[in-house]
């Protein structure tokens, strides 16, 4: 009993254990890693990936994937900057409008994928390219500088020793955990991703649920975009480049299944922190950006392989639980 519960913990919280081990390795590599300041830095870095990641997690639980979040982030930074620098709109209103625009982008992605019955990977890749282009068009291809100092608060501010983005990350994580664990809506996401047809035959409008997941993903990418805007302090049409890959790696490491129907907010958030730790630690160890790319890709590949293996192992277990019967065999005659 004791041994099996330890095994269960290891399996359940692999991501936490990996975090601790990785932390130890980095501390040996460079003692500067293990300082309070550095921790805050890591958390700050992970918060934007985290908020976008929670959104992508909704989509993945419902059985899809969203690669367009990076482009949404780019659009939002550019939109907010254009609002206050070029269009004479107050930055706060600009932020609200941008987040609404991001939500619409998410809805559009979901609508196209779910209603059009296209592969989520391909559909969101197409939308990513479209929105990436839109970000350039909005700002004429050039970064937008000269934004008001106070508008950077959500990306750079602190309350006490805690950075504002970290607080936003925690709040959003908590809300997401509540929605997914406690509400019927949350249960619907899991059901739709676990078995769409069975969920539909139980009276769930899985089409609507899946589109809603993409919409939430758009909304959270929008908020992540606001955080990004504050951090870089300008409107950058390339701000969100590669973000989707980091987000995807993070949530898959955090145990969100590519096959849908599975995922926990806490673990997914740990995955996001882990990715930031990795970047931070490797940089402190003077490992070049290019090598880091190779490592990140390898970790992503490893995480996906592990996920696929676990999924197959589970399926097999399920198949074996069922006594094979000649009746099924014969009924097709």
């Amino acid at each position: 009993m004791k041994k099996s519960s330890v095994m269960h913990f290891v399996k359940e919280y692999t991501v936490v254990i990996v975090m601790i081990l990785l932390g130890a390795v980095f501390t040996i590599g460079n003692p500067a890693f293990l300082t309070g300041n550095n921790f805050i830095t890591i958390l700050r870095q992970s918060s934007m990936t985290g908020v976008a990641g929670v959104g992508v997690m909704f989509v993945m639980i419902a059985g899809g994937i969203n690669l367009a979040v990076g482009s949404v982030i780019s659009i939002v930074t550019v939109l907010v900057a254009m609002c206050c620098v070029n269009w004479g709109i107050h930055w706060a209103i600009g932020m609200v409008l941008s987040v609404i625009a991001a939500t619409v982008c998410g809805w559009f992605t979901g609508f196209a994928i779910v209603k059009g019955k296209i592969a989520p990977m391909i559909g969101s890749l197409a939308v990513k390219t479209i929105l990436g282009g839109v970000a350039y068009i909005i700002c004429g291809g050039l970064p937008v500088y000269g934004i008001p100092q106070e508008s950077k608060y959500l990306g750079q501010g602190t309350i006490g020793f805690l950075p504002v983005p970290v607080i936003i990350f925690v709040i959003i994580g908590a809300i997401a955990a509540f929605v997914l664990n406690k509400t019927y809506l949350g249960r619907y996401f899991y059901a739709a991703g676990s078995n769409d047809e069975a969920a539909r035959l139980s009276g769930i409008n899985t089409t609507r649920i899946r589109i809603l997941a993409y919409t939430i993903s758009g909304l959270l990418a929008g908020i992540a975009g606001i955080m990004m805007y504050g951090r870089v302090g300008s409107g950058q049409p390339i701000a969100g480049n590669e973000v989707e890959m980091n987000v995807l790696t993070a949530v898959v490491i955090g145990g969100v299944s590519m096959a849908g129907g599975e995922g926990k907010v806490f673990k997914a958030c740990c995955g996001c922190v882990l990715i930031s730790m990795l970047t931070n630690g490797l940089t402190l160890m003077n490992i070049s950006e290019y090598t880091q790319m190779v490592i990140r890709g390898a970790i992503f590949l490893g995480a996906v392989l592990l996920d696929s293996y676990q999924h197959r192992a589970k399926q097999q277990k399920v198949v074996h639980a069922e006594p094979k019967s000649g009746q099924t065999e014969g009924a097709k005659a």
Binding site: L201, K324, A333
Partner: protein, 496 residues
């Protein structure tokens, strides 16, 4: 002996709990058409799989052209010249007819394919049995009938000596059936043997030389087709004793709970019928008769082309399963694992899925209420499990089915559609499911049962609607039940 191309001797194949083939012997003569008939589950598929090498028999010998084998395998059967044509084609739709005919074969030496030769050779094959298809057309542009002919041409191009056709006429129109019949005769004239499986008895007289009737994994009789009447065929197909005993129930009918008027769609021609409270109505028919399609139309799982549905006498609009659930209809699907239970979710969450919104306050699930509902259903349905949090995928088939039933009871369904409720469930659990179904009917539920097992439909239901290829054939009352009658109508015969 010399004129037999294939002989199966004393073949037995067992699956856990079921003997699929029991000491079966058949022989196929050179250049003959042997029809193979039998009910759902008679063992035809297992027989075919033995001949094509898809499965290994446990006992017996297979001889092909005088050579004995204990089992065949797919590569060997291909070399021997055995080909099978199933209802699902194995054609590459984006390639040409000629390319499909010679798929996997080299027609010229050297690295470059000689396309002119390819089309020429394909044309030769097609001409041989007088089929008018352009070898340059793409397979995806052909009708089902022509695709089937391409499959046959493919078999011939591989020098097949024995071709198995599994219900080849099912998807064809009458004219197309005529073409197929003509081609079968041509093949026969060339000395090719054919095993022809069909549910349509009429056709057998047109095409077959001899007929083999199977039932419950055994060959009942093999005889010249002209020596047997349709009535004989049906007699041999059903002549089994009813082994399973069905629990009795107290019958008390209430008002009409469900009425369907001219419902049509998914290949089902307009059907009208009604079910009363406390009544169990069977939907009988062979595989492909449109029973599941009809069930899914009622439940809103597939769009209907027309017709009306009344629940408790009131006309209702059912456009999605949600609408059906809201009107008190529950559907237990035939494919439990694909569309019945959520295998990766626990029992509890499976059971409350349709009523989750109802047991939530301000969107938050009332876990106390949920636990009550789940406990009640686990008790009522006698689901054997260590805990309500057990994943449904870890349960046995019978217990999974009880979870699905519990789901619909928890949602206060008044009308229950059970599609193959005991498929893949062992004998003991079957009895339990039957008792539960009876109990639900006694409690006033209106129940529709679809089953491919003749015994089940006869034993469980009070009244039966028989479908044949999407058409309503007949309605039988309990007192008129007989296996012969059911099979007669299910085979598309009005009278025998």
């Amino acid at each position: 002996m010399a004129d037999n191309i294939l002989t199966l001797k004393n073949i037995t194949k067992r699956y856990p709990g079921v003997v699929a083939l029991n000491d079966v012997s058949i022989e196929v003569r050179r250049g003959e058409v042997l029809a193979l008939i039998g009910e759902n589950g008679a063992g035809k598929s297992t027989m075919i799989k033995t001949i094509t090498g898809a499965i290994r028999p446990d006992e017996g010998t297979i001889s092909f052209e005088g050579k004995d084998y204990s089992a065949l395998d797919p590569a060997l059967t291909r070399d021997l010249g055995i080909a099978a044509i199933y209802q699902e084609f194995t054609l590459a739709p984006t390639l040409t007819v000629a390319e499909n005919i010679f798929m996997g074969q080299r027609i010229n030496s050297g690295p470059v394919r000689d396309t002119r030769l390819l089309f020429e050779k394909a044309q030769q094959v097609l001409d041989r049995f007088g089929v008018d298809i352009n070898p340059r057309s793409l397979v995806r542009d052909l009708t089902v009938a022509y695709k089937q002919l391409v499959e046959i041409a493919k078999a011939i191009a591989k020098n097949a000596k024995l071709i198995i056709m599994d219900e080849p006429t099912a998807p064809l129109t009458d004219d197309e059936v005529d073409i197929l019949m003509k081609i079968v005769h041509e093949l026969k004239a060339e000395g090719i043997s054919i095993i022809f499986i069909s549910h349509r008895l009429d056709e057998l007289y047109r095409v077959a030389d001899r007929v083999t009737v199977m039932r419950d994994g055994e060959v009942i009789i093999t005889k010249e087709v002209n020596e047997l009447s349709k009535a004989d065929l049906i007699y041999y197909m059903v002549g089994r004793e009813l082994k399973e005993s069905f629990p009795s129930r107290h019958i008390a009918y209430g008002d009409v709970a469900l009425e369907v008027k001219d419902l049509t769609g998914s290949g089902v021609a307009p059907v009208s019928f009604s079910v009363r409270r406390g009544e169990i109505v069977g939907l009988a028919g062979l595989v492909g008769a449109g029973r599941t399609e009809l069930a899914r139309l009622i439940f809103g799982a597939d769009p209907k082309d027309g017709g009306e549905i009344f629940v408790d006498g009131k006309k209702v609009e059912i456009r999605s399963p949600r609408d059906a659930v809201d009107h008190g209809i529950g559907y237990v699907s035939e494919d439990r694992k694909q569309s019945g239970v959520l295998l990766r979710m626990p029992i509890s969450k499976n059971i409350t899925l349709p009523i989750l919104k109802r047991i939530s306050h301000l969107g938050v699930v009332d876990t106390k209420k949920e636990a009550e509902v789940v406990t009640k259903q686990i008790d009522d349905m006698r689901i054997r499990t260590p805990s309500a949090e057990q994943l449904a995928g870890n349960l046995s088939g019978g217990n999974q089915q009880k979870v699905v039933l519990g789901k619909w009871l928890a949602s206060d369904s008044k009308i229950l559609i059970l599609d193959e409720p005991t498929r893949g469930i062992d004998v003991g659990a079957k009895q339990e499911i039957y008792k539960l179904i009876n109990q639900l009917a006694e409690e006033g539920m209106a129940i529709i049962v679809i089953s491919s097992e003749m015994e089940e439909v006869l034993g469980l239901t009070d009244r039966m609607l028989i479908l044949y290829e999407g058409h309503f054939m007949a309605e039988l009352k309990k007192e008129d039940y007989s296996q012969e009658r059911v099979l007669q109508y299910a085979s598309g015969e009005q009278s025998v």
